[in-house]
Subunit: 679 residues, 2 copies
């Protein structure tokens, strides 16, 4: 444990039998917790997890709690191979005693108490929480604590007092641009729960697709979804599934822009009669709802009323982003309306729209969330600002009294590393906010926009990177050790896979399909050092649309695969004593050799795989990079580099750095560092 432990907060726990805060006693505890708890103290010894473990709910219990306990026991059973106890007692003397004060909120709000205390000694585990959701968070931690020891598994003695730093810890999934089936949503909810995220923001409507059934306005899906949408029953099932895991569901109905799919069935919602078709291209679309017609608000009113019967959450996301005034400016009636109301700009007209829909949201008992474009002097302060254009708008909003949520640094389609997302704090020291204003920053949301993904690739775009943000939003501000985060992320990635996500299996399946063979060992080496280019690079290079097949190498490879941080770490380690016969040297050498060996095999496979063949230059570069790496190791080891080697090698590295065939190498920087270190 690198962080100071707030012993004071542990209170009576210090007196528990088996507890001893000496360093020696901590030796058998390997911390793989993610997110890190607020307060952790490591005791001595551990509890053996075997068939004798009994489980008790001594005080409160309800179905939601029992289901959560059963899920946890099932996960532990699978991890340990120890058959679980099926019967739960009400005894305080059970090995695992889950002591919950009460059910918690009937509709989980932003204020739900998620705190818990977990005390493990060599004889028993006590989990205490005020609410069922708190107990779920504690059980997640318990599952993460279980570790191998000798021939079996143990729970190391620890005391944990934990509660989240931010109350709003979300993941947004865009099911509009590409539909995501119910099972995809469910497994991602399981993964969210595994890292204690608590808001699923469901982006349900887009220019490219309207994804939620309306019985009042059936043409929304009949004509605007290509038949790909969630029925109301399915949406309710998702809401229940999320609630069972302590996750709120905030639906988004983006308006007045991003609404072309609505207009296919209901063109009257717009100021231009249409007709409209589902949009296939991406980017900002010039159509929007007409904010000047009362019929627009009547439609929205009825629609939101219907949606309120499906989504009980008190928050409702109404979008508000990227609304160009094109249609409005071209319509004399709208222009006259603006004049009449003294609106100088279409932004002001949009604010009028925001005010009206905020009232409708209120009417249906909802707080309105909107993307940061809605922030405008006339906007009532009970709107919540969701910042996607920069943290500044979040702080501006807070200074003006608005609550806010940060997403700008957490766009997964920017294909940044887990490290970059991890270090982006919603409330960094320099935010300039007063403590009161800081409280208005509710938290953050990871955004998974859907242009370039489908149900096969989505998991690998979300996980494991999102787990790093989950820690940022849950754990104390000073938990910022990147190496330690990656160490734990590697373990967390497997725990997330165990709940059913396919972020680790997709790559292999996609490579087999690309290559047309089960023999993909060499291709696995190849893809291990590649990652997708950013959203923008792909969009501009490939001119993608909703109809673009997503079956290229770029769709197979993972963002920020382990190679990126591993090679950087090994190079850093090696450069501490470049001539030594170290582990780092051996590992790097093995890696470089594997690139050299794999490259010709990959190229041979490309002869029979047209969709792979365009990546041939990348395979050639992988071999070059491997040779340069091997040479650098030799020259760092004492052999003299030939004249010009450094310059030519760096030139080759820089050539390989460029995005090409929609992928980039993950190992460029440390390789350049290695070459630069050669005398």
């Amino acid at each position: 444990m690198k962080r100071p432990i707030a012993l004071a907060l542990l209170g009576g726990a210090l007196l528990m039998p088996g507890f001893s805060p000496s360093l020696a006693a901590q030796s058998n505890f390997v911390n793989t917790l993610m997110p890190e708890p607020a307060h952790l103290n490591v005791g001595s010894g551990s509890l053996t997890w075997n068939t004798a473990v009994t489980v008790g709910l001594p005080h409160f219990k309800n179905q939601r709690l029992e289901d959560a306990v059963n899920r946890t026991l099932e996960q532990i059973e699978r991890k340990t191979g120890v058959p679980r106890q099926r019967a739960m007692t009400t005894s305080d003397a059970s090995t695992l005693s889950i002591d919950v004060d009460g059910a918690g909120e009937e509709i989980q709000s932003i204020d739900e108490d998620e705190s818990y205390a977990l005390n493990v000694s060599s004889t028993g585990i006590k989990l205490h929480a005020a609410t069922v959701v708190g107990a779920m968070r504690g059980m997640t931690t318990l599952l993460q604590l279980i570790q191998p020891s000798g021939n079996g598994f143990v729970v190391p003695a620890v005391q944990i007092e934990d509660s989240p730093r931010f109350h709003w810890r979300g993941l947004m999934i865009d099911a509009g641009r590409h539909f995501e089936p119910v099972e995809v949503i469910k497994r991602n909810l399981d993964a969210m729960a595994a890292v204690k995220l608590n808001v699923f923001h469901w982006h349900l409507t887009e220019d490219q697709g309207f994804r939620i059934e309306s019985k009042i306005y059936p043409k929304l899906t009949e004509e605007g979804s290509d038949g790909l949408y969630y029925t109301q029953d399915e949406a309710r099932e998702i809401v229940a599934y999320a609630r069972a895991r302590g996750i709120r569901v905030v639906p988004e109905f983006d308006m007045p822009g991003h609404t072309r799919s609505w207009l296919v069935g209901y063109p009257d919602l717009s100021s231009d009669p249409g007709p409209y078709t589902i949009r296939r291209e991406f980017g900002v679309e010039p159509v929007a709802m007409d904010p000047t017609k009362e019929s627009t608000y009547q439609f929205i009113d009825a629609f939101l009323g219907e949606m309120a019967t499906i989504f009980p959450d008190p928050y409702l996301h109404l979008g508000g982003d990227e609304t160009p005034g094109t249609q409005w400016k071209n319509n004399p009636r709208v222009v006259a309306f603006m004049k009449e109301h003294n609106f100088k700009t279409t932004e002001e007209l949009q604010t009028y729209f925001s005010q009206r829909v905020l009232q409708l949201a209120k009417k249906h008992g909802k707080h309105m969330v909107g993307w940061d474009e809605i922030l405008n002097p006339a906007l009532p302060t009970d709107a919540i600002i969701h910042s996607w254009r920069g943290a500044k708008s979040l702080y501006d909003a807070a200074q003006r009294g608005y609550q806010g949520i940060l997403s700008q640094p957490y766009y997964l389609d920017h294909m940044k590393s887990a490290e970059e997302y991890y270090l982006a704090d919603p409330l960094p020291p320099g935010s300039g906010l007063t403590p009161e204003q800081s409280k208005l920053v509710l938290g953050g949301e990871v955004c998974m926009w859907g242009e370039h993904l489908n149900e096969l690739s989505i998991d690998s775009r979300i996980w494991p990177r999102t787990a790093a943000v989950a820690e940022r939003l849950w754990s104390p501000e000073n938990v910022r050790d990147v190496d330690d985060m990656y160490r734990r992320l590697g373990v967390e990635s497997l725990r997330i896979e165990a709940v059913g996500t396919r972020h680790l299996t997709h790559e292999g399946a996609a490579l087999r399909e690309l290559a047309g063979t089960e023999n993909i060992d060499a291709l696995r080496v190849f893809s291990s050092v590649l990652q997708p280019v950013t959203f923008g690079q792909r969009y501009h290079e490939q001119r993608t649309s909703q109809l673009t097949p997503l079956d290229n190498l770029v769709d197979a490879v993972r963002p920020d695969p382990p190679s990126r941080h591993e090679v950087a770490l090994l190079v850093r380690e090696l450069l501490k004593s470049p001539t030594a016969h170290s582990d780092a040297r051996a590992q790097l050498s093995g890696m470089f050799q594997s690139w050299i060996a794999a490259a010709p095999k990959v190229q041979a496979q490309m002869d029979h795989a047209p969709l792979l063949a365009i990546a041939r230059p990348r395979a050639v570069q992988m071999e070059q990079l491997g040779r340069i790496g091997q040479q650098a190791l030799e020259y760092l080891g004492g052999k003299k580099a030939p004249a010009g080697w450094k310059k030519s090698s760096l030139a080759e590295i820089e050539a390989a750095r460029k995005p090409q065939v929609l992928v980039v190498f993950t190992v460029i920087d440390p390789l350049a560092e290695l070459v630069n270190a050669v005398k």
Copy 2:
């Protein structure tokens, strides 16, 4: 093509432009079709699959056909990366013209016409079928024909006239002993369609679980399912999903034995008042329904009537297997009933039961299928005999005028190789049946019993082996070339993965979970040469029950992985000229070296992985086998083997042959052959 081509049957197709039956012209066609069509002729040239390909339904069309066409085009799009045409024409002049005579049967029967003709020239593709189901079979073939060529994909010029050898080509999934979620069933239906199977036999009730909702008898699932069952809506969804793919759904309600889960909620169905609990153990259970009470038949009558509203198929499977008379013999009332009816044995009492339920099935418009125990002199000949105890009972039945289905050689849990299943013919030359009697053999069914599988492992137990049986049941009797089957099976395995099954991804996910790390290269080598022991071996060794965690190495490894046939093939190849520096020698040597290199890494990982650690002796053996293989190559290459080497090596091989930690090596026989070939 190794089989003679029935040119006569191709008729006018021979005159099509671009057709030339010369051998040279066939060179660019690589046959990966599975199952092999009845008649195939290869032309010259090919059609380029690009965005210009148009699709037409010139004559009949309905939603079912259009959906099937769209699914096919989507699969082709993904395989080729060529965006598909979204609009279908009614023109005969489309590149791909799908000419269907009519809808086919409203409820697909055993007599549905599945034949089709597919003619591909360099300018167009004509698919003709009498029915929509026939068209589906043809589209499956079309998808399989597409192959890489240069920078893109082509459809080679061929003429195919195809229809199945057997009308009943099934897969049974046991959802009773372990529940399988809806998505598991759906993806397996997709895989079935990919190999032209047409019957999904859904084993829905077992001692260990009652899996289908009854609204009339709600306690069946409330008390007999652990909450794991299909709602009626879900079952209807599965039936519709199957129908959309030309697959019939035959539900099985096993009775009078295998019914303990029924009795939990309805103990009166039995002759012993109970109370009953869900059974956790496997094997034959001594409880059964009471065949002497009229109330039993009233219950079954009402239940079957309800089920008939969900399952439209004219066939109904009523089990009838493994019914011990224990309870009956112990009940004086039942004994008195037997005496009264002059039944000497409980088998006769069961036949009485079979006659009664057959009448009930008839009442609800169904033919009754039963396992071969029901075959008894008094059984009406309109029952269908499903043979699981041996082909002999099938032929006996046919000789006595019963229709029958063969499953005995197709039990997947026997963990046999694809080869063994493949070579087992339902109507081999020695069946002793007359042509008339042979017609009573409707086909066969692959059986996936559920004792030792869960939703994670099931796909890898079913696929790709089931594809080999699918070919046996569809293709002409003389299609029996095992090497060629394995060559095509390797390709088919990927096509099945592309429809969504996890038979190839499960192994990696399970190994990661077992090892607790993403670094499983060495473990992949280890598992590549292992396969599960048979059902019986595992059951007796582990004393499994429904509550046994299925998270061991045996659950990760695949039955009949590629290594088994590959190594055998390479050894056969090498032994043709043992001293030559052949490809076979190089490949075998590479393989043996990989075993030697992986073994210590695997053992090191076992130090931190308790569930893997029990397999340590297997890792040691893998290294030994690798060394023996390497030595054999040297000695076959000319070097002299030391005295005693052969004997001691064969002893080590034989020691490694024994089942241990629930797995067996796949490479024992060819290794022994190699050693034995050393002079």
